[in-house]
Amino acid sequence: MKARSHPEPPRWWRLLLEATVPARYRDEHVGDLAEGFSSRAGADPAAARRWYRRQVLRSFPGALRLRYQTRNDHSNERGGSMETIGQDLRYGLRGLWKSPGFAIVATMTLAIAIGVNASIFSLVSAVVFADLPMRDSETVALVRGTNAELGIDQGSVSPADYMDLVERSESFESLSALTETEWVLTGEDAPIRVSGLQTTAGLMETWRLPPILGRGFVEGEDRYGAPHVAMLTHGFWQSRHSGRPDVLGETIRLDGVEHTIVGVASPTLEFASFARAQVITPLILNRSEPNRSARYLFVAGRLDPGISQEMATREVRSIGESLAREYPVENTGWGLWSAPVMESLINEDGSTILLLLQLAVGMVILIACANVANMLLARATVRAREIAVRSALGAGRSRLVRQLLTESLVISLAAATLGLGLAMVLNEALIWISAGTEDAFLMAEFDARVLGFTLLVSLVAPLLFGLVPALRASAAGPRAALRDGRSGDGGRVGKRARGALVTTQVSLALTLMILASLLTRTVMNLQNRPLGFDPQGLVTLSVRLPEAVYDEGEERRVFFAQAREAIAGAVGSQVEMTSVIPAAGVGSRRSFVVEGREVIEGRAPPSGLVVRVSAGYFDLIGLPVVAGRGFTDADGPESFPVAAVSRSIADRYWPEDDPVGRRLRISGEEDWIQVVGVVADVRSVSDSEEGAPNIYRPHSQASAEDMYLVTRTPAGPGVMAGPLRQAIWSVDAGQPVGEVQTMERAQFESEASRYALLTLFVTFAVFALLMAAIGIYGVMAYSVVQRRAEIGLRMALGAEGGTVRWMVVAQGARMLAWGIVIGLLAALALSRLLGNLVFGISAVDPLTFVGVPLILCCVGLMANILPTLRATRMDPATTLRVE
């Protein structure tokens, strides 16, 4: 015998050997090589190492052979057959059944995390994997209008610009345009409003989307005077015509005009907002009155073979530039831009939000996994004895690990089932909170992809939260565990692992809380912008006159005058009207010319939102006239055209002097309009500006088909709806009556998707905070239990309670502090993404970055101190006697 200390074989090679040799021959095999190594090491350690390595490498074929030979052995230590899986399952279920508290908490924790993940993934999947309405979409480009000064990069295109583009561009095989519209459908039943699309004749060819029945529109049908034809969307055909194939040739009455049905569009068309379309008619483009400032076309082109997207973009951009030079009044500042359809359909803010959401839910699931891992680690310690006994009775390590993992998998699968149910409820809630305004929420569905994702998460999660505890639990040999049964706490490594988990949790929770708090403050800032008028008791009723029936301004004026009178008679209060609901609706943005002001080369012309109102409207909603006058009944069709501008328009375009008495001309129109008054701002629906840049016109001079009748009444919309409808029908029985709603409800709906997002983030953040608190509490409580002997001894030896408490608290505080530092860094990194989304605060808002960690600190310390207090209140004698 040589020296007492034996030379060790190379560690990594030994581990490699242990991994390859099947368990049945592992001990003797490793032992043989260790013996061979030590007998050679005395003479020449380097040669011994070489020999060892050679032997390990040589073991591979033999080891494989051994594994093959032992594959069917039904001993306790291996298997893989259904029988042992069934055994593992039974064992796992029994273990969970015996500790229902653990089972329920772990399952619920994971279920919530998996639920929110499935829900958000269904949104992401709906948006990212949405079937585009175009075939061969890689050769389709969308053409968009851009205006850098107004921050528009996904704008629409005016018909005149579109026609010029068709004429000039050479990159496209074909171009097509569409716009969304609405009609009144009359016929057998009560008049209803249908929404639809107007498309150029070649759209179905450009999109390569052949109709499933009949034909698309042909050249010539998109001109004035052509016979009226229409297509039905697949959904509308199914629901209203029950999918009858003989619908072709029948007519439908849109806005009082008979249209012959010539085809049914493919269901693929029903994409995002197009999904609401019911009827499609040809888009009639009129060359004779090109109003370039009315931009409302959605343009897509099919690239010529051999033309790349980049080449098309260059050409479209240069056409846009030359159009801006040729038509400076309307097009200055505006450009054209094309991009692959995939890129341009997802807008940038939208995808940032989606990315943040996905990150947030990713954090939620990591936090949940960390928590369950923590519970498992603590549980493994409690079960150390049981595991040791099983191992002593011959259970191999791999078998033990598999058993513990099976238990984790049972938890995870149960959680996934619960989570899916939760996700469905959550999606319903999101649609409800967002009032059905977000396309993504409506498009989201639980298809095979979402189910697959959930299954994947529930299979991967146990590896995340179960593998380390399982490996640790099975690592201690039976001798050590049995000998040292009670205080088998897993040692320093275990403590460190749990500490790292808590630190991770704290940092993830902090990141999420900071994001949520930035978002909350943004929404609050947006909410706190002054409304500008008094919404209390205001009820609106939407009326859209069919153009074909009321195409003369005079006819509309008569209708609205009669309708207002009838409603005033029915409800007994003043009735006014507006074309845009303040702080909720969007008017059409028009550019205009200020008299006496040069058009500056290269800068966008002045622009504002044109709102048509009746004479008493400002008075009714309580919008103060700050200079000049409001409208009166004297501003009639025959008198001089007048306008009132909002204060933000006045400040922007007449910064030096009083706009009252000055004149402006809306581009595309001929008359100069005199500004007679300045009214206070109403809140803008856009997040980037305080007040809406409104130009008000009297309805008597600039009538519109779509108006909202507004009245102030103490009765709610439910009570008012009936009398309001009757009043409208007494004037025109063929007129559908839109929704009757309060002004407050209209505002809520215009902001609803923001609330939905906020709700999501805040829910996640609160959940994360809770999880982190539970995590800290769990670890501290456990550690106190572990150390109660030590604590008892210290107390018995006369240590102050305070000192001992501090010693324990410091341990938790360290984990907390690390978590906060890491979380702050992560949040700082993420806040770059938020730059465009926050309003009224900086993305690195100091209050948030100090306040949120403070809250987390308080909660964390509470979770830390509670178990500590319990420990120091214990009677030292009791704790020592337990040992």
């Binding site: 034996h6 074989p9 003797e28 032992g31 260790a34 013996e35 030590s38 080891a63 052979r65 051994l66």
Partner: protein, 111 residues
């Protein structure tokens, strides 16, 4: 005679090493016995693979011995020859001897 009663060459080498070692037949010792007698170094895993097969055919039995410090605290597995193993070895040898009868051959393969 049923198939499988004959032994492969490597199996014969391992079995003979076990027979020569008697009470002291465990992995490393078998390895060295083969190396000493034939001058070839074989892999431990191959030895165990062969012994595992032979044990399944009831030609050897094994028992776990005591761990020793120079083995890193790992136990030895001792193998011992069973009657079936002895029979098989003899049968293989006599089969080969019978076939060698009358064969004159230069060991260098030069005919």
């Amino acid at each position: 005679m049923p198939r499988g009663e004959y032994l492969g060459e490597f199996e014969q080498m391992v079995l003979l090493a076990v027979a020569r070692l008697g009470e002291r037949a465990y992995g490393m010792a078998i390895l060295e016995e083969i190396a000493d007698a034939t001058g070839t170094e074989v892999g431990v895993a191959s030895v165990y693979a062969a012994l595992d097969r032979l044990e399944r055919r009831r030609m050897v039995t094994s028992r776990v011995g005591a761990p020793t410090p120079e083995r890193g605290g790992r136990a030895k597995r001792f193998f011992s020859l069973e009657p079936a193993g002895r029979t098989a070895l003899h049968r293989s040898r006599s089969a080969l001897d019978a076939l060698w009868e009358g064969v004159e051959m230069d060991p260098d393969g030069l005919a």
